[in-house]
């Protein structure tokens, strides 16, 4: 399962201005709602925020991967955002984050969910992948950068 295959252009925003973590997470949930028609976005946002309070999903090097699996979710939803400036996310390395990938999955799809999280985390540990994604000025360009990184 590849990240580029889980995303459409409508689920991607680039070079966004965002003030704080909550705005980022709300923005990602909105992207999922607009793209996939997920109805109960308030619950999704609440669940994501609760899990963030137990520990930041900022994995370092400016990347955050907020994620949750819930019984109420019918299928996997993925959204991605980059910001023009770094946002304080409470990441493990204390660095501000500019790359955000949200994954929301059904409970019954836990293995694919873990697999996708692992793939995304591995991918974004590489400097050149982060740089190419941050340079993208359109969702199409970002997706192309991802496809190139995953195919390499």
């Amino acid at each position: 399962m590849k990240l580029s295959e889980c995303l459409t252009e409508n689920a991607v925003v680039v070079q966004m201005s965002a003030r704080d973590k909550r705005e980022i997470l709300a923005g990602l949930v909105n992207l999922i709602e607009q793209t996939d028609g997920l109805m109960d976005t308030k619950s999704l946002l609440d669940e994501i925020m609760q899990r963030e309070e137990l520990g930041s999903t900022g994995i370092g090097k400016g990347v955050a991967i907020p994620h949750v699996h819930l019984e109420e979710i019918a299928e996997m939803h993925v959204a991605m955002m980059t910001t023009a400036r770094g946002v304080d996310y409470g990441a493990i390395d204390d660095q501000p984050c500019r790359i955000f990938i949200m994954v929301a999955a059904p409970d019954r799809d836990r293995e694919n969910y873990l697999h996708l999280l692992a793939e995304v985390s591995r991918l974004f540990r590489h400097d050149e992948v982060r740089e190419s994604v941050l340079k993208a000025e359109t969702p199409a360009a970002l997706l192309e950068a991802l496809r190139s990184a995953e195919g390499a």
Binding site: L54, G55, I59, I92, R110, L114, A118, S121, R122, R125
Partner: protein, 142 residues
Amino acid sequence: MIKRILYVVTTTQEALKGAAFVAELAKSLGAQIIAYGVVDTSAAQRLTQATGEPESEIVVKMEEDAWHYLYDVEDTCKSLGAMIVLQQEEGFPDSRIAAAAKKFRADIVVFARSRGAGAAHSRRERSITSLIERLDCPVLVV
């Protein structure tokens, strides 16, 4: 006071099984877990020599496996209400773990017991013994 628990997550079933205990321990202490995985690049070289597969592909697989186990542990811990963050690094496990314990100011380092037999099992056992001597904080094996 134990406020930071470094839980060394290996790609083993024992590490997954240990997660619930570490979560309960963290909750009872009001501590945060730092779930820490190391991709052993020397093991990748050995596997390349043994299998003939390109080292780059082996490293990709090892990195993804390590993250998979980290996220599995995180899922268990957060489901139980424990505070946890994840970190993965590459290198020689002994030195990386000792450095991580210092960097994250771990009050205790926790390992899952290694079960099984063979060279890999022996290496893990020796590694824990060697680490105990290098760490300034207590070590718990679960």
